[in-house]
Symmetry: C2
Subunit: 162 residues, 2 copies
């Protein structure tokens, strides 16, 4: 590992950890009942966004080559289907626990990965393609998912007044 | 410059440019009238978010040590004040033009900055502090503003159905 790699890993993980911290502070402020509201008329409900984010972060575990997903049952209702298409969703209480468990597990793996390993390929790109496109590495996945989380956090904050 | 620095810069600027591209595609879909709506009941209107994002990106020009701000008049209504606190906002047509001009100017500067220079200090940190905290560099500002843009894009998209 080089000092430069360590610096850039810190920058990317700081951005990720900040976004997680802001999101957790927001989720703690929301009541279970507020999660049942739509973020705006006709749009996704808070419960769907919470499940969606949990499912997306859960899939980061294999994508970053850390381990298997923890909650495969979240994929169908929160990735394959739109909000309100599935009648029996998990409870908000359960989703809050799964959200925390997934992110704690992720953060543990992230903190242990040596800086140089962040610049190796993620699980969805072949060795061949990665040789040609070395920016498609594990750390780049974190940059992309940080924006994804920021995007949906901007929507979840709209629940706070209702 | 090292190859590694070039790779980091590409990763961070790709994330920025993607977010700008997605936002521009969204703004092109919205009518001027849709910008006058609130993203959710009682929340910011589209016109405010467009002005806010333009003002924040305009301030990146001096923060990244590229040049002076282009539209200093945007600060008061879109940074200092909340939505609906200022009666006479610029028109949506004008804000769309300023949004494009600011981002084109930013992108030009960004594309010309040598990779090593991205890892020098931004304008709001002293040489002294930067020596202790080298992660607070110009590229880190881009990571942070990419999340900021993603956050508000998640809100602007709620205008599309209304």
């Amino acid at each position: 590992m080089s000092d430069q790699q360590g610096l850039f890993v810190k920058m990317a993980l700081d951005a990720w950890n900040n976004e997680i911290k802001f999101t957790n502070a927001l989720l703690d402020k929301l009541t279970d009942e507020q999660f049942m509201h739509e973020v705006a008329p006709t749009r996704n409900r808070g419960i769907y966004l919470l499940g969606h984010l949990t499912a997306v972060h859960d899939r980061l575990l294999p994508l970053l080559r850390f381990q298997d997903v923890m909650y495969p049952d979240l994929s169908k209702p929160f990735l394959d289907e739109a909000d309100k298409a599935v009648a029996d969703l998990p409870s908000v209480v359960q989703l809050r626990e799964q959200w925390k468990a997934v992110n704690t597990t992720l953060t543990d793996h992230m903190g242990r990965l040596p800086a140089a390993d962040w610049f190796t390929r993620h699980a969805s790109i072949s060795e061949e393609d990665f040789a040609k496109e070395p920016h498609r590495n594990r750390l780049n996945v974190v940059l992309s998912r940080t924006s994804h989380l920021a995007n949906h956090r901007g929507q979840l904050v709209l629940l706070t007044l209702r």
